[in-house]
Symmetry: C2
């Protein structure tokens, strides 16, 4: 039997979904990292993604200033870092110090990539749509790369252990189903 | 080692992600179903989602006409129906006949819900953003419901077997990870 769900929690029906680490860099060079799962591809040609960020969050301020960010795809090994990045604010804490992650230079944008992640999208903002307390950014992927042993024929194999956010403190990873041959 | 990924395939890095069945109904009462995984929550208050549809697809025509659709969340039991709904066009085939699914009336919109799905969002379009060959719809959730035994404390339990699209003919389901206690 189906029960009605409180509309403020209705988004939970679209989870579990990939959670990513968004990396930004302000004009003074300060790097910040936050986690986010309200992200989706929206076009393949041109390669565009949409990401929704909270207007009270620090990352949204930096992206408005610089129009650039990297999307870093974590495996389940980084679940603690993902939780920390999503619950601490870059306004109060230097997350590069508490996360214990390595940053490497990007080729097309200023914000760096996170070395421990299995894939990276370098992105530049094209459009900005206000939605009450959220901003939806449409951004174009400038460059993408992925671990060669885990991303094969344009597909993450199960061993990539792509991290999904189920809700609250619960995370999951995908296991292939065999029903479709 | 990370390899560069062809930009036209870069969206694959944001998979596996939930795949949903979008149900529409035209002014003559004809029901159509298609599958889609380029969908994300974008706001909780008001409850908004964004969904990107191909401008050459039939579903996009119906939504432009009626501004309404339902988002139906399938479990892995429906993987064959999801594949069919995503590979046949409603312009050529009456998908209600080939999918073998039951439709039940919605409360706030005209398009029905799919009974075999574990959750449903009834949606009305608020904004429409053209992105070359895709249209991004921002829609407000009017009503949401979910199977009471599978959606607990606003979270899908593992037994819901929420269907994720990995890529091509490969689908997966989420399994909770235990690293965060």
């Amino acid at each position: 039997m189906k029960n009605d769900v409180d509309l403020r929690k209705a988004y939970s029906l679209l989870h579990p979904r990939p959670v990513v680490l968004i990396c930004t860099q302000d004009r003074n060079g300060k790097i910040n990292v936050m986690s986010c799962s309200w992200i989706t591809p929206v076009s393949d040609e041109p390669p565009l993604i949409a990401v929704s960020l909270w207007t009270k969050g620090y990352t949204h301020n930096i992206i408005d200033e610089t129009k650039e960010f990297t999307v870093n795809i974590p495996s389940s090994k980084l679940v603690k870092q993902v939780w920390l990045a999503g619950t601490k604010s870059g306004r109060k804490v230097d997350k590069t110090k508490i996360l214990g992650l390595k940053f490497t230079g990007s080729k097309t944008v200023s914000p760096p990539a996170i070395e421990e992640c299995v894939g990276v999208l370098e992105c530049k903002v094209k459009e900005r749509i206000m939605l009450n307390e959220q901003v939806l950014y449409i951004a174009e992927i400038q460059r993408a790369c992925a671990e060669e042993n885990l991303f094969k024929n344009d597909i993450w194999i199960d061993e990539a252990n792509i991290l999904l956010h189920t809700g609250g403190k619960i995370f999951s990873t995908p296991k292939s189903v065999k029903e479709l041959e």
